[in-house]
């Protein structure tokens, strides 16, 4: 039984973390909400003042806004599809008996450790560059016209880069889950004459379901706020073709100094993240009890 003394000691030990995180979460958020109802422009302070919901209205009527929400969701959903399906296939492949499995694992996981600006620049210049990139070399080898990835298909290019960064994460987690599957169960199923497909659907997939949930939820958190990849490749363009919500807010705040509108965008981003977070917390919370 915890005594009064140990309980207050425990509180004392937790205080720094709790207080720090509380301040870090509440103070900036309150300032953002406050600014979202203000006209505030450091370059043109004459018209500053309370404006009600007009920042939200402005943000909403901006054609870039809907485009950015759409881009945000496109990016999240596409990368999730690629990494989860690709991750399952890759995990199944790597789980097979083979020579040099350790090295294969290391090669596959590596992109995850590459910092986002490096990943984006390497893809932009070495791989997808319409003149000097490897893709262009391949296209020319087959006598085709090289594709200007960031000019013609900016979203697709960014999706490919981000998927490359996150496929290793999905693979690693799914592989870990796969390897904890009981070998005897597999053997029993095999002896009962279950083929590869039915073994996969009735045994492997249910076993991996928790890991798949976790992969989806954690990736969603990070994918909702992709930033550096866009900054160093397309800079949101052409036009707003590859601007996502975080990038739009950044542009409004630090490039156009429309702080009120940027804050309104920030609040919308928080709401969007909260909807996702609600499901995320429930799933992770359930796993806690096991």
């Amino acid at each position: 039984m915890a005594t009064q003394q140990t309980r207050s000691l425990a509180r004392f030990m937790m205080a720094p973390s709790v207080v720090l995180l509380f301040v870090w979460m509440i103070v900036p958020l309150v300032i953002t909400i406050w600014f979202s109802f203000q006209q505030y422009n450091p370059l043109n302070p004459i018209r500053d003042g309370f404006v009600g919901f007009s920042n939200y209205a402005l943000f909403y009527s901006n054609p870039a806004f809907l485009q950015s929400i759409l881009n945000t969701l496109t990016l999240v959903v596409s990368v999730l599809l690629i990494t989860v399906i690709g991750g399952i296939l890759l995990a199944l492949l790597i789980d097979q008996p083979m020579w040099g499995q350790g090295i294969v694992r290391i090669l596959v996981i590596s992109p995850f450790f590459v910092m986002p600006p490096v990943a984006a620049l390497v893809w932009k210049n070495m791989i997808m560059h319409p003149q000097y990139g490897v893709f262009a070399d391949i296209a020319r080898f087959f006598g085709a016209q090289p594709i200007d990835w960031f000019g013609q298909h900016p979203m697709l290019a960014i999706i490919i880069i981000v998927a490359w960064q996150w496929l290793p994460f999905a693979t690693l987690i799914l592989l870990t889950a796969l390897q904890s599957l009981d070998g005897e169960q597999k053997e029993a199923a095999e002896m009962d004459g279950a083929g590869f497909i039915s073994r996969f659907i009735y045994l492997t997939l249910p076993h991996m379901s928790r890991a798949i949930t976790v992969v989806i939820l954690i990736q969603t958190i990070f994918l909702l706020s992709v930033y550096a990849e866009i900054l160093v490749t397309t800079n949101g363009g052409p036009g707003y073709a590859s601007t996502n919500l975080p990038f739009l807010v950044y542009q409004k705040a630090l490039l156009e100094f429309k702080i009120g509108q940027a804050s309104a965008g920030g609040v919308i981003a928080v709401i969007l993240a909260n909807i996702v977070a609600f499901f995320a917390m429930r799933a992770v919370g359930k796993n806690l009890d096991k």
Partner: protein
């Protein structure tokens, strides 16, 4: 009873897996190769055998003072990790060893702070940093990175500490060990591996953080993430130099990452997948 694996099956799996693995690794490999080319070679089309020159490496340092950024990255990632551990260890400790009804709620709440999109608080943080003179300062960024990763650190330590059996403490107490002895001889040796893995993962995350490190720095405190981003608007020939800078920026973390695969899974899934 082991499943019999035919050599044919194993060969096919090996070949397929190696092809896929090399394709995935290719952009990194090609960056490393290009870093040993001269600028002329780098744009002459596809080739995987470099002339083996080191000139890009020396030029990156000479032109941009690369090692200042490298030093900042080391300082920020290690510094913020140590700060986070100092704050998180007591919290995780008390939650693991004297949990209350609210422990789980507090953990979930901590996790929820991680879900707040950084961009939503970009301007307030920018203002706070500007007004307190923390903009472009190492200590400011260190605190920032510490706060960002604190929930993960608490969570990860908590899952490790929770695995230390409480009975051992009771046994030590029965044998008359003082609190100090308990901590030094019983708990510390059992906690060190968990703390070390947490540290490793957190250094990786802090090293690669690419929002605040870019936006809150200009020159003095800028780490490698900011340095590399400045390459996005290039002047002149720079493929080989970019590759050299990139290779140096990712090499230390890549190697650390290879050694921490298992901890990574656990840390990033908040203990849900082990």
């Amino acid at each position: 009873m082991a499943r019999s694996v035919t050599t044919r099956h194993k060969t096919i799996a090996t070949v397929a897996a190696w092809i896929v693995a090399l394709l995935i690794f290719f952009p990194i490999l090609y960056t490393i190769i290009t870093s040993f080319k001269s600028e002329q070679e780098a744009i002459q089309g596809f080739s995987i055998i470099p002339s083996g020159t080191f000139e890009s490496y020396t030029e990156v340092q000479a032109q941009s003072g690369y090692f200042k950024f490298f030093f900042n990255s080391v300082l920020l990632s290690v510094g913020s990790t140590i700060l986070a551990l100092l704050v998180a260890i007591p919290a995780a400790w008390s939650m693991a060893f004297s949990p209350t009804k609210r422990t789980k709620d507090i953990l979930m709440w901590m996790l929820s702070t991680k879900m707040m999109p950084a961009v939503a608080v970009l301007f307030p943080i920018y203002l706070i940093f500007r007004d307190t003179g923390l903009l472009d300062s190492r200590i400011g960024l260190m605190i920032m990175l510490m706060l960002i990763n604190l929930p993960i650190v608490v969570w990860m330590l908590y899952t490790y500490f929770r695995e230390i059996p409480g009975e051992i403490l009771e046994a030590a107490r029965m044998d008359g060990a003082s609190l100090w002895n308990e901590i030094v001889y019983v708990l510390t040796p059992m906690a060190v591996p968990g703390i070390a893995s947490t540290m490793l993962l957190n250094i990786i995350l802090a090293w690669n953080e690419a929002f605040w490190t870019i936006r809150l720095t200009t020159t003095e405190a800028a780490p490698l993430t900011a340095f590399i981003s400045s390459f996005s608007s290039p002047q002149g020939l720079f493929w080989a130099k970019l590759s050299a800078a990139s290779t140096l920026a990712i090499a230390p973390i890549l190697i650390m990452g290879w050694f921490s695969q298992k901890q990574l899974v656990r840390g990033l899934t908040f203990g849900a997948v082990k």
